[in-house]
Symmetry: C2
Subunit: 453 residues, 2 copies
């Protein structure tokens, strides 16, 4: 019989991997809670009517669709069948799909439950999402997202707090990061300024390469994208922008002085950066005028986080949107959100070996099993240790000593408790420190003290 396997692009998480993942999720969860965000969960399955059309044509294809129960062929027409495996046929075979992200389900949740929600509504959500992407290194078909959003408030204080959350989370992890901030309105302003309102993506993509390919090549790329010489000339101040956030903001403000949207964007970023100044962030928050972020629902501040000591893409991102719930019939609800990339953070922590030792630990002590009478005695001692909050195992079989010690070693159990006949009679425990090799005879109170360090 072949070894069983799991679908490609999915993963089993072993105990050690789970301990690491729990450390990540718990850290993010605690920081979210510290800022008053409250958790929700939505079902893995959504109606396809909720999901379809929200992620573009490509996204529709990447949705996992669930075959209807019962006679799933009942409403399929001959004509649709003849067309092969199309979206149209899939829609007749399937009413439900697996969620593709947490944003659309959240928008659906807000609209569906709007009468119960107290605005502003601050929620976080940590759940898996599924995408039928081609699996490749670092890209999975099932992965977790860790999102927080505030909806129902257009105050920029929300942006400020999200930046603090990013700073706090990565400080906890010990990962040095650069937080990049920009504003969609600035990008719109730049495109307006040169009379090319539809070329935002081309402009930011080209400018993003400034450091790598130099001004002349950037200009060539802009020309190739169909931007006039006059337009490129108008972008000149952008190529000369330098210095700290404030001087960059001053320069872009001058450039966009006659564009209302652009000026608004500059003002928003300035507010956020100014508010952050006295708050003592441990990581740099830098204006990055080339930051665009792909998702087209962003309308205000956008941000992205990069690790400084590891070569990896963005590990966190987010931004302000003005009409997320409009697609479900509730327009005008502004919100701002953030998403931590748990899988990439996992990789960074692994590469930098930053997991704290105590997050990784299973049982703290293993009782060796010397036989029926000793085991019965140890059951009582183990119960006492657990009542003291110590994670305790009793080896279930009276196997060879070597096998039991090897079990403790493999699992990294730091203490082993040996209770043979003489210890039983004296009501003592021989406690072995598995790191130092040191052994001492202790009563149960002494054992508790020794393990709790």
């Amino acid at each position: 019989m072949n070894k069983p396997s799991i679908p490609k692009g999915t993963r089993d998480f072993s105990p050690v991997e789970m301990a690491k993942r729990n450390y990540i999720f718990n850290t993010i969860r605690q920081v979210y809670a510290l800022y008053g965000f409250r958790q929700i969960e939505t079902p893995a399955m959504e109606n396809l009517s909720t999901l379809m059309g929200k992620y573009g044509e490509e996204g529709d294809k990447l949705l996992f669709k669930i075959l209807n129960s019962g006679d799933f062929m009942r409403s399929v027409s001959e004509q649709d069948l003849a067309g092969g495996g199309t979206n149209r046929l899939a829609a007749q075979l399937c009413e439900k799909g697996l969620r593709y992200d947490l944003t659309v389900p959240f928008a659906r949740y807000v609209v569906q439950h709007r009468d119960e929600l107290q605005m502003p509504f601050k929620r976080y959500q940590i759940q898996p999402v599924w995408r039928a992407d081609r699996p490749q290194k670092g890209r999975y078909r099932e992965f977790y997202q860790c999102d927080a959003d505030i909806v129902g408030s257009d105050s920029l204080l929300n942006e400020v707090e999200l930046m603090q959350i990013v700073d706090t989370v990565f400080s906890h992890f010990g990962i040095r990061v650069s937080i990049r901030i920009n504003n969609r309105k600035i990008l719109t302003g730049m495109a307006n300024h040169i009379g090319e309102p539809d070329k935002i993506v081309e402009i930011t993509t080209a400018i993003d390469k400034l450091d790598k390919i130099g001004i002349d090549n950037v200009k060539a790329e802009l020309a190739q994208a169909g931007i006039s010489a006059e337009g490129i000339a108008k972008l000149q101040p952008l190529f000369e922008i330098s210095g700290n956030n404030d001087s960059q903001l001053d320069a872009i403000a001058r450039m966009l002085a006659n564009d209302e949207t652009g000026s608004k964007g500059v003002e928003e970023v300035r507010f956020v950066l100014d508010a952050l100044k006295p708050l003592g962030l441990k990581n740099e928050v830098a204006l990055d005028l080339t930051l665009a972020r792909g998702l087209n629902y962003y309308t205000g501040c956008i941000f992205e986080v990069k690790a400084l000591d590891v070569q990896i893409g963005s590990i966190t991102g987010g931004g302000r949107y003005d009409n997320l719930t409009g697609i479900f019939g509730l327009p005008g609800l502004s919100g701002v959100g953030i998403s931590f990339g748990a899988d990439r953070i996992y990789d960074v922590l692994n590469q930098l070996n930053l997991y704290p030792q105590d997050a990784m630990q299973g049982a703290q002590v293993l009782f060796i099993n010397f036989g029926a009478a000793e085991a019965a005695h140890c059951l009582r001692l183990a119960t006492q240790l657990r009542q003291a909050g110590i994670r305790t195992e009793l080896y279930p079989d009276s196997a060879k000593m070597k096998k039991q010690m090897s079990y403790a070693n493999t699992l990294g159990v730091p203490f082993v408790a040996l209770v043979g006949e003489s210890e039983m009679q004296a009501d003592l425990v021989t406690l072995k420190n598995m790191v130092s090799g040191e052994q001492q005879q202790l009563d149960i109170e002494g054992v508790i003290r020794a393990i709790n360090g």
Copy 2:
């Protein structure tokens, strides 16, 4: 536009519901960890070849199947199409399905990863499962299971520890329970004893009604199930069994003295009950000779837990199996497991109103927003409180006082911090206790002390 909705049988969990559910999961998780169990997770999607045929014919129908990506019609034959929505056709449209429980994925995991696993392997797993059951009150199409299993050890000490785990978990919850224990070998022994080895279910079902319908009716039911008068007569000792666990065990031991399997079962239960005696359990563990449990893979001790103060079905159950991994080509691996029914425990805790207050709380303090200057000042104070571990919100907009207070009230925030111009100048905070209504002016250290109580 209609309000959006979610698939029937699925649920959104609001912040209050999530707080309750987290309390349940965290309690179970902590107790599992206290006994040295380590967490794993498996993918939501498994290959259908892993799932099909493991839950009986009915179970196969209740699996949610996932439509293949791309041209899902490519390998479907005309002939299969003509047959309508059959399992055969589904198998060609779908290679993957959502997991139906945690047991089969766990067995698959153990076989797939056997070379990495240290035996005995103690794992716990808390994840959702999906079943295309007809939704009804208390039955959902997506629900969580909370399982723990030890595989690779046939020691009865594992059963003993699982009973301790049950007792500890429900003691934490404050739910009084009765833990019922039996052994499949005893049931086999009884059926052998009367020469009806295939009638285990009929015998236990009938005997289970003894209290309700009386001996004569039970006998009538047994006769109707095709059991001979002689066989029924041989069961007579069972009808007279009474008293505590020990005297019941003695009686059944005498009855099954000539049946090897039955005697083994009695011995196993006796070991577990004897070992538990000195361990000070808070809940009763009672022998229940009518307990059968439906799942046919159990081979040894079986157990089930009922709440004493609420009318509801079994809220926890489990048992010993000898060959769970055999279906995946790894025979002879004995294990024992337990599963807490989170949704029913949720209902019981709700009915008895047993959720601890501090498990339910979001933010501990809300700063009222009096305007831009005050808000900037409060951002700094809020940062200090969060550094002290206090869950803190600053209302993002300078809305009307009444609206902000109502926000605090609705969310149950216990303290409100008021910092107007005079407080700013004096570097003080007016802290209002939302329960008592009491107000006091404090410096930030005083606020921290007041909130931490």
